[in-house]
Symmetry: D2
Subunit: 244 residues, 4 copies
């Protein structure tokens, strides 16, 4: 580890994602971790009760990304990315970008991501998040309402839509997708899901609606039990494949 | 679509994954789909009430893979693959392969997968599954107990273990992982999780235990509701990062 | 146990609820249980691999009630009964009765239940269910649409509504409830819940919407784990208290 | 409502359970509710944005009971009470009492409850909780370890055990239960469940293990969705029926 690197610090059951800078300083219950304790060490080292670990994409999203809006949680984003059926030869369309969490996940699996975000504030924040962690090199991000996007002649292998009224965009989405391409949606309310399902009819087949629940356990071998509290809802996922 | 291709057929709320052969024939409630109806058609076409769709990896695993043992479900496999923190520059270790579902998912995200399976029957079945669908080109599969593997000098970026008594392998796993590399486990019972947690102590940090529940809804806009029945358990996921 | 009694028979992980008659005969995997094996025995006895147990209300509802319609599951019925805030001095209103499962539960806790069912078929079936098991002595059952009920001058301490379009009955329900009385509803779809919530506004306060999930585990001490499959949905519960 | 009564106050999505005393005063977002606003009013009245409602047993337990220890949640207590198969003619045994929540629920359904609590602090607190709300008139509470209880010649129709090491008490419990009587247990960890299951063998049949999850929704008709956060775990329920 050297100056400028990010480190995931595990101390007891707490986690911190921090950049190693000259003035780095983490205090936890009378224990302290400073720049000199970290720099030059290998990931995987235990220093003064602090484990210094290499952050994976999940840790970066959960603890490193600045949020201007609700993020798409890793549990959902990981499922979405594979569900879209994409790989290194695929070009994926996404809108809106939000805080950029899903984009970062799609970017790992797809060849290319074309992503729209109408809000200048969210757009700038997402770009900053990616830049900070060196992510999304294969992403073409556009600060524009997808409705106004000029995509004549372009075709996408898959699409993910995270906006409040996705039904307004359905025909345009349909027009730029390859036949049988998967399109996904995330929606917080049942009313939105109902409305979307109604409008997808005739444009998409194999429609699925689902939610993913992640339940964590306290990792104590002699007292194994779920956490007291869990996230009960992030959103409903809707998927369908473009029909002609 | 041409002879030899796989097609995902959606008819009402049923799904079939079939290879297009000369004698292809699917009957569903008095409707029939034959070779001539399918060959030459584009994915996304509706023929006689049957939607002809392009199968994604999830469909291939769920409907196409032959199972000699319990598969790792896509809901779990997708999460695992990203959680392991792997990308195109990573080499992942996996054992046991089982029916090869997780391997196929890891293979999409990682640069290289080295996978062990002790049972000749499972091993052959997994290879057949991959071969049938043209998957896992970057996988080095070995029909051997991981315990007997000669890995001197090799180092892995991540590992996933799906065997009944993973604690027996912990020290060897630890010895071939890079520092801070993520190692995951899938275990069906709480007794196994307890035992594993006990043995991971001192070898792995940032240990997490969780389960992922996928709840599907009937995609009917005016009567939106969950399915009557759901999979209640596939397994507990355990993750930890190698410490020195 | 004597002729005419009901017995809950547990053999391995299977359960049967049977009446002891002269021609009683239960076969399970080469083992047989006959009238002579059971009559005169005490509950709690093990005979030939069959445990002879006394059925509780849950067992009666799940294994003994004939169903002409979807029952309200014990997990929901038990919660509803207490949630309604009733006791021996309360009179509860219920419609529709359906197969009579909830009525049987309410009847245990309330002083009196007044219950309506419009379908003659369901009505007769519910009465038969209660009669068979000697339940619901304090229930006044009426084969009538609640809309047509003459309830002038009557007041109820609580109410439960299990019909497809409960909003049609809201004003009448409101008019026969005591101030602050709890009223509950069971609805299978989110669309119905939305519609009901909209119509409850101004008539009920403290409105709650919830679902109850019961997850069973295999009771094997050295391999403790959830069942593979669970009931994913029975219905959404809605509760509110009458306001003036 | 008069001085000394308890009132459940609903204001927006917040709830308060309060006793009406001369110095009663509730402030919420610039609105105030005072003694004069409440006394003499009927339950069900809206005063200044505050709904004045009659508390049911659930509200009393959740918002009124003082807790010296983790309570048994209403969702669990309601299920337990009916599962035990008790009614007005039953005498139920319970230990330990804890904060007295389950006792209050059992007391509504059973004829008589005999309840033990070893801790003088918990015992006094439970009695105070019951006394405050006029509950548990049919409960015989004893400040003693159940192990030391002299129960010669007594027989119980059902039993519920909420202690850390229930297996230590199993033989005694078995000796005071009627044949086929249901006995229930609440345990937070899987290790305890495993241990208990092992020890129940040969003493109880029809053993079941389960957990009950209650998921609440935001009661907003045009934006229906689950709450963001839910209670993920209160405990595992174990039930078995005494065999001879």
């Amino acid at each position: 580890m050297q100056e400028g690197d990010f480190v995931l610090i595990q101390v007891e059951d707490k986690r911190f994602l921090r950049r190693i800078t000259k003035d780095f300083n983490l205090n936890y219950k009378k224990r302290a971790l400073k720049f000199e304790d970290v720099v030059g060490k290998e990931f995987g080292t235990l220093v003064n009760g602090f484990y210094l670990l290499k952050p994976n994409l999940e840790a970066i999203i959960l603890y490193g990304f600045k949020r201007k809006t609700q993020i798409i949680y890793p549990k959902d984003a990981f499922y979405i990315a594979f569900k879209l059926g994409i790989n290194k030869s695929s070009t994926v369309l996404e809108f809106g970008i939000g805080s950029g969490a899903l984009t970062a996940v799609l970017s790992e699996l797809a060849g290319r991501v074309v992503a729209y975000e109408v809000s200048p504030e969210f757009y700038k924040n997402a770009l900053k998040n990616w830049d900070t962690f060196g992510l999304c090199k294969n992403v073409e991000a556009i600060n524009q309402d997808f409705m106004d996007a000029d995509l004549s002649g372009r075709e996408f292998d898959a699409c993910f839509v995270d906006v409040r009224e996705p039904w307004l965009y359905l025909k345009k989405v349909h027009s730029v997708l390859k036949n049988s391409a998967m399109c996904g949606f995330l929606l917080p309310t049942t009313n939105q899901v109902s409305r979307l399902l109604q409008e997808m009819d005739g444009l998409f087949a194999g429609v699925e609606v689902m939610e993913i629940l992640l339940r964590k356990y306290k990792p104590v071998y002699e007292r194994l039990r779920p956490e007291d509290i869990m996230v009960a809802h992030t959103g409903y996922l809707v998927f369908g494949m473009k029909i002609m």
